[in-house]
């Protein structure tokens, strides 16, 4: 795969050509129905998204907001009620696209009676990989996720973190271009979380596209280029994470060398007191604050897109 375009930096969204759109959803809607066809839950409402090649895209939202539904729709595990989900320009229910994607489910749903090697061997055989390369990849991935010492132990003896790591190895067995990670850091200790984040960033350096969903805000903030915030099945916020976390209508000033008396006046006239202006920009909020404010606003005004401003897309 070509990594020349994207290795150096975060892609400049505005200049991307349409062929670099890896995931596209148009008016994607999912309604869960019961056996009789009666509507139970409207899990996803008219979602429009685009994920471009080489970026790390985060889906953020509280439990039940439609994150996992979106991922399942993109994988063809669910069929849309209306609208379309396209992966690599093909319909999400097309099996052929699976050659180029890797998926780490919410929990690692693996066969507990297999050991690490057998697990990876089984999944590798589902792809068209020559036998020699298959062995190489299995060995490399096992050492990548640091499971060398437990490669012959059955997965039922694995701890949660170990299961998570073998699950990730399984998702990467086909050297995918697009990786979908559902709650990648749940159940991992702080060190494991750090390693997982490093790995995700390394994947971007290799030119891969990552879509991850999580309700763990620090994870999203640390790794994602762009995020979409979902709440109750609706898209509330979408944009580059650095833009979103910038508070536009406020100004932040950091000054040095002012006397205590001058500090009192500075609120009225900064410039006239001749203090050295160290920094003057818009303050950033934490993702946690942004997230909570969006959720609060969404609950107060259901159906409206959060914040009036249009972020650059």
């Amino acid at each position: 795969m070509s990594s020349d375009v994207v290795v150096q930096s975060v892609p400049q969204a505005a200049t991307e050509s349409p062929t670099d759109v890896v995931i596209e959803t148009r008016n994607l809607t999912k309604v869960y129905r019961d056996f009789w066809g009666r509507q139970k839950v409207r899990a996803l409402k008219a979602l429009d998204l685009e994920v471009r090649r080489g970026e790390i895209f985060g889906l953020l939202g509280p439990n039940g907001s439609g994150k996992t539904t979106t991922i399942k729709l993109l994988l063809g595990l669910l069929f849309p009620t209306s609208g379309r989900a396209l992966v690599f320009g093909k319909d999400a229910t097309d099996v052929g696209k699976n050659e180029r994607i890797g998926y780490l489910p919410e929990e690692s749903y693996l066969y507990k009676f297999l050991n690490a090697e057998e697990t990876l061997d089984f999944y590798a055989r589902l792809f068209n990989i020559p036998a020699a390369e298959r062995r190489d990849r299995i060995n490399r991935l096992i050492s990548d996720v640091k499971l060398d010492w437990a490669r012959r132990r059955q997965l039922k003896e694995y701890s949660k973190g170990m299961t998570r790591r073998i699950g990730l190895a399984q998702a990467l067995i086909n050297d995918p271009e697009l990786i979908l990670l559902d709650e990648p850091t749940t159940g991992l200790d702080p060190i494991g979380t750090r390693e997982m984040k490093d790995l995700i960033l390394r994947l971007r350096e290799e030119g891969k596209t990552v879509l991850l969903c999580s309700h763990l805000l620090p994870d999203i903030q640390d790794v994602c280029d762009r995020i979409a915030i979902l709440h109750q099945g609706e898209l509330k916020e979408l944009g580059r994470i650095d833009t979103l976390l910038t508070v536009q209508d406020e100004t932040q000033i950091r000054a040095r060398g002012l006397s205590a008396g001058a500090e009192e006046e500075i609120r009225q006239v900064i410039a006239r007191h001749g203090g050295e202006l160290v920094q003057m920009d818009h303050p950033t909020t934490t993702l946690e604050e942004l997230f909570l404010s969006i959720v609060r606003e969404s609950e107060a005004h259901p159906g409206r897109r959060a914040h009036e401003r249009k972020e650059p897309r």
Binding site: L75, L77, V95, I101, Y103, Y109, L126, F127, N128
Partner: protein
């Protein structure tokens, strides 16, 4: 043993009509299935979208999934299935099998007249049921378990086609159970052979010279009895040449040999060999049966003597009424000592008759040459009821009505058998007594086939049944939970098993009526023969009959396209009765099973593909 008329058909005779049925049934069922999918889809999304959905699904199935199907992925899933089965302790089923066999000896009737039949039917039924239950439990659990534990998410998000998943699963289970079945077959074989094996010794005091045939001649040999072993005791004779046999008892006999120990014959010791004749594969050659009525005119069947079971029809004694079997493919090479006939007759008496002698009959062999219908002098026999009697037609016969010419003999194969074809005529020779017969009641015993291969054929048909059960279970489990899938499979098997019964209920050949009528009869404790009474008048009965008619139509339609499980169980009966199971019939069953397996796998593919796995 009763043989069904369709079992006489050769593979080529059967293929034509079967192919016709296939060519009608498959497009019809496909159309019904596609239409049903369309209606189902249209109810949710409207007709236009439904049309595109159905057409798109079929197009993808053929255009993409079929083309992209990979043996490597199928084998990967099959291997996984094998591992899963082993780790889910499939061995438990095998342990049950061994336990049953360890204690079977306690329950098998050791004094049975036909222990070979008892042993064979026991091992074949046990393995048959056990293997089918094993297949049912294993195969209907796999896909629902994957969906429940969501492991299927990690599989279907790889480039795995639904068809590969279905076929891989089927192959895996079939592989596991095939190995178990092979082991069970080997153990069963040893169990039967060892169970029937026994030894006798000669009681030394019992040995006496045979009385001479003609007064004054030397004794033709010796006779004696054996020790009591395995609950029976033989008598035996041996000639002066030293070749001898015991009598046939409990389905077997022994060879008697003489060991010269001293100078005189009375110094000799006698030894008995192992039991022979208990485990054989008799090869019956059946003929085409037609009847002549009492005036000698052709008739489609004989007369009915009022028996409910219409399997046999009857001919009247001392009239021209005859049962004529036409045999084909006979050659002198196969029968160097004459034609061994096996005859099973039912006798119907209109009066008690002579209480000492049985009802008499005659066998006539006649050439089928229309210009020169030579026939031999009647060979008389006494009918033995309820058993199969052996009559050997000798090679040299006397012609009838031509005593003057040449005065002599005619040769069975030179003068009577023409192009391998000959007629055997059976008549009853006692006035106002009747013989009853069906096509399978007279056959020529061709040289025996290998018992081991025959035994193996019974296991092949058990294997075929298991394969169908596994396929059905996997297919149903693609859209049903494990218990429901098991129930659906069992229902399909039962409906397939009782397909002929359902058909007979519809045509009125079987009594008792449909489900509603049967239920009413059960509650009211009525027998099946009396007219149904329900409600106050005729109208209640009419309603019941109407509902039953509809239900039976549905059941019959289903059973017509379901695998004929009772037919697949037939090989076990053949083997248990020591008959060779026709290779042609086995070939028919293999081909039919292959068609079913393919069809079920295709249905399973569509069901799994159109299923929302994460819902």
């Amino acid at each position: 043993m009763e043989i069904r008329p369709d079992e006489f058909l050769s593979f080529t005779q059967w293929l034509g009509p079967a192919l016709l049925f296939f060519l009608i049934a498959v497009p019809l069922l496909t159309f019904v299935a596609v239409f049903a999918c369309f209606v189902f889809s249209a109810a949710r999304r409207g007709p236009v979208e439904a049309f595109y959905a159905v057409a798109g699904t079929i197009a993808t199935a053929i255009g993409e999934d079929l083309v992209a199907t990979s043996l490597r992925r199928i084998m990967a899933i099959a291997r996984l299935t094998v591992k899963e089965s082993i780790r889910r302790r499939v061995i438990v089923g095998f342990v049950i099998f061994v336990l049953i066999f360890l204690f079977a000896g306690w329950f098998l009737d050791v004094k049975s007249d036909d222990p070979a039949h008892l042993y064979l039917s026991f091992v074949l039924t046990t393995t048959g049921y056990l293997v089918i239950v094993l297949g049912l439990f294993l195969a209907s659990a796999s896909i629902p378990a994957d969906i429940k534990s969501k492991t299927i998410y990690t599989i279907v998000t790889k480039p795995v086609r639904a068809g590969e998943l279905v076929v891989g699963r089927i192959l895996g289970f079939v592989a596991v159970i095939t190995v178990l079945l092979a082991l069970m077959g080997a153990i069963s074989y040893l169990f039967v052979v060892r169970g029937l094996d026994h030894e006798h010794a000669v009681l030394p005091d019992s040995v006496t010279p045979l009385p001479p045939r003609v007064e004054g001649e030397a004794s033709p040999g010796w006779e004696g009895t054996t020790t009591m072993n395995a609950h029976h005791r033989h008598t035996w004779t041996i000639d002066t040449e030293g070749s001898g046999r015991t009598n046939r008892l409990m389905g077997h006999e022994h060879v008697v040999t003489r060991r010269e120990a001293g100078t005189g014959a009375d110094q000799s010791t006698y030894e008995l060999g192992p039991p022979i004749g208990a485990l054989v594969a008799r090869v019956p050659i059946y003929g085409q049966l037609r009847f002549l009525d009492r005036a000698g005119n052709p008739a489609s069947k004989g007369v009915s003597v009022g028996k409910e079971w219409e399997y046999r029809s009857y001919i009247e004694g001392r009239t021209l009424a005859s049962a004529i079997w036409t045999f084909q493919g006979l050659s002198e090479r196969d029968y160097p000592t004459g034609l061994p006939l096996a005859l099973t007759l039912s006798v119907f008496r209109t009066y008690k008759g002579d209480i000492v002698t049985r009802v008499q009959g005659i066998v006539i062999v006649r050439s089928t040459d229309p210009r020169n219908p030579v026939e031999c002098e009647p060979i008389p026999f006494e009918s033995e009821e309820f058993t199969t009697q052996q009559i050997t037609v000798p090679l040299k016969l006397r012609p009838v009505g031509q005593e003057g010419i040449g005065g002599g003999e005619i040769d069975l194969f030179r003068d009577l058998v023409r192009d391998g074809e000959v007629e055997i005529i059976v008549r009853c020779d006692d006035r106002s007594q009747y013989f009853g017969m069906a096509q399978a009641d007279l056959f020529i015993e061709a040289p025996q086939a290998s018992f081991v291969w025959n035994f193996a054929k019974a296991y092949v048909t058990i294997w075929l049944q298991m394969v169908i059960v596994v396929c059905l279970s996997v297919m149903f489990s693609t859209f049903l939970s494990t218990p429901v899938a098991m129930l659906a499979t069992v229902s399909a098997v039962l409906l397939g098993f009782f397909g002929t019964f359902v058909r007979d209920l519809r045509t009125g050949d079987a009594y008792g009526g449909g489900p509603v009528e049967a239920f009413i009869r059960l509650v009211n404790q009525e027998n099946v023969m009396s007219p149904l009474e329900f409600g106050t008048g005729e109208i209640g009965v009419q309603i019941v009959k109407f509902i039953d008619g509809a239900l039976l139509l549905v059941m019959h339609s289903f059973s017509a396209v379901l695998p004929d499980f009772s037919g697949l169980g037939r090989a076990s009966e053949y083997v248990a009765y020591n008959f060779n199971f026709y290779d042609q019939l086995l070939a028919r069953q293999c081909l039919t099973t292959l068609v079913y397996v393919t069809a079920i796998a295709i249905v399973g593919y569509f069901l799994l593909r159109t299923r929302e796995l994460a819902a």
